[in-house]
Symmetry: C2
Amino acid sequence: MASVIKGLSKLCIHTQTTKPWSLQECVTNYSKAGVKAITIWRNVLEGINLNEAKKILDDADMKVVSLCRGGFFPSVDSKRRNEAIDDNLLAIEQAAAIGAPLIVLVCGSDSRQPLETSREQIKEGILKILPAAEAAGVKLAIEPLHPMYAADRSAVNTLQQATDMADEIGSPFVGVALDVYHLWWDNNLEREIKRCGHNGHLFAFHICDWKVPTTDMLLDRGMMGEGCVNIRQIRGWVEDTGFTGFNEVEIFSSTYWEQDQEQLLHKVINAYLHHS
Amino acid sequence: MASVIKGLSKLCIHTQTTKPWSLQECVTNYSKAGVKAITIWRNVLEGINLNEAKKILDDADMKVVSLCRGGFFPSVDSKRRNEAIDDNLLAIEQAAAIGAPLIVLVCGSDSRQPLETSREQIKEGILKILPAAEAAGVKLAIEPLHPMYAADRSAVNTLQQATDMADEIGSPFVGVALDVYHLWWDNNLEREIKRCGHNGHLFAFHICDWKVPTTDMLLDRGMMGEGCVNIRQIRGWVEDTGFTGFNEVEIFSSTYWEQDQEQLLHKVINAYLHHS
């Protein structure tokens, strides 16, 4: 079991957690609350140029942990697959421009074709963008998604599968983003975290909670402590691999997005300190 | 890949698929449509005595494949765990009385305790009811449920886990019920079906489909062919193990339950013949 969290030095918040806020609002408010690290969702980069975004981040001395998200490689339509490659190359440019060392890949799935085909296309897609990522010094993290998203969001659904894919690709620039929401149920999780870390693939650690009941498959994630995930136990397994990265809070919740976002930010920090 | 289905001799329908119907209505209508096998959900036994139920089934020469459902073993509360044992013993009596050779176990989970604890309590629960099951000649099938139910319906979420548990228990009366809805996403499914069958544990095969999008986590299952599951491929893997049991249609759908149930039954049969 991991030790109790004592401060905010390892806390990173995903801009999507406070979705109603612009990049500037995220940075200003996170900073004011003592949060020093951020993961940028690409929607907050829309409508501002990348130099401006970089300046907002630098002015606040805000560390960028990741850019979310690349991926969505598979499609029955080769034109769509090519568009996905272009979009991922753009993401690499964006990441390099704002100083994000990592892109999280939500790998995608196309329910009109076998999962095996989608999985092959994911691997192909990553191999295609890898030279650009390496040249830009930007790492890529395969994020295994909960099996309830296998049909439309990711054909990579367990840590074992993601680690195997990273192994097969075999580049120090390709690893895994581990989100407790997607993987908490897996009876092999401890073993697979150890293997992923041992193989040098553990690039990112995302936290939130699984609510009981969960009323929406996408937008009903819980605040840490509000659900049934033993976050501290999983964090312990992650830290035991030698992982020294951030604990990234990523909560998609239509309920929380409707609330006052400053109050939400304080709830996040409180939950982080007491339930992570 | 399995061969095309040519008739209804291997078709079994779960009474829950046509939930608005009583046992008598299910049996009468299934028979009229040429369906010769049924899996009985316990709700249709409420309010009639078991001899009466048996007579309804025998009069129509309807083969009973399974009784659904036992299980729900875990709880933080030992009184609730004991009540679950009593309820499972009752299910064994019911199964024996109506001639059901198998009880499907929806194993349960209690989100107030670690998954590991729930898993231990599931195994303990099965071991407690096993002597009664053996004495009654009724088999027990652990049904691994989709990981989205790990918090509240089953802490057994993969075929590997279910097969391991059946192996550990080591009785010819304990095996596995495989439902494509719960397991289609698993990249190890073919291998695990082979192992499950090889170990003598493959007791039942349930079919329906995964809709894209799925709008409700419980009551939005699809008719075969309506979603993205490659049912024929999975049926081929199952049959390759030597499985000669029924293909059991089990669809929970608030949409279908609102429709005319005779028309629904004909949709089921048509989908079975063309998309299974």
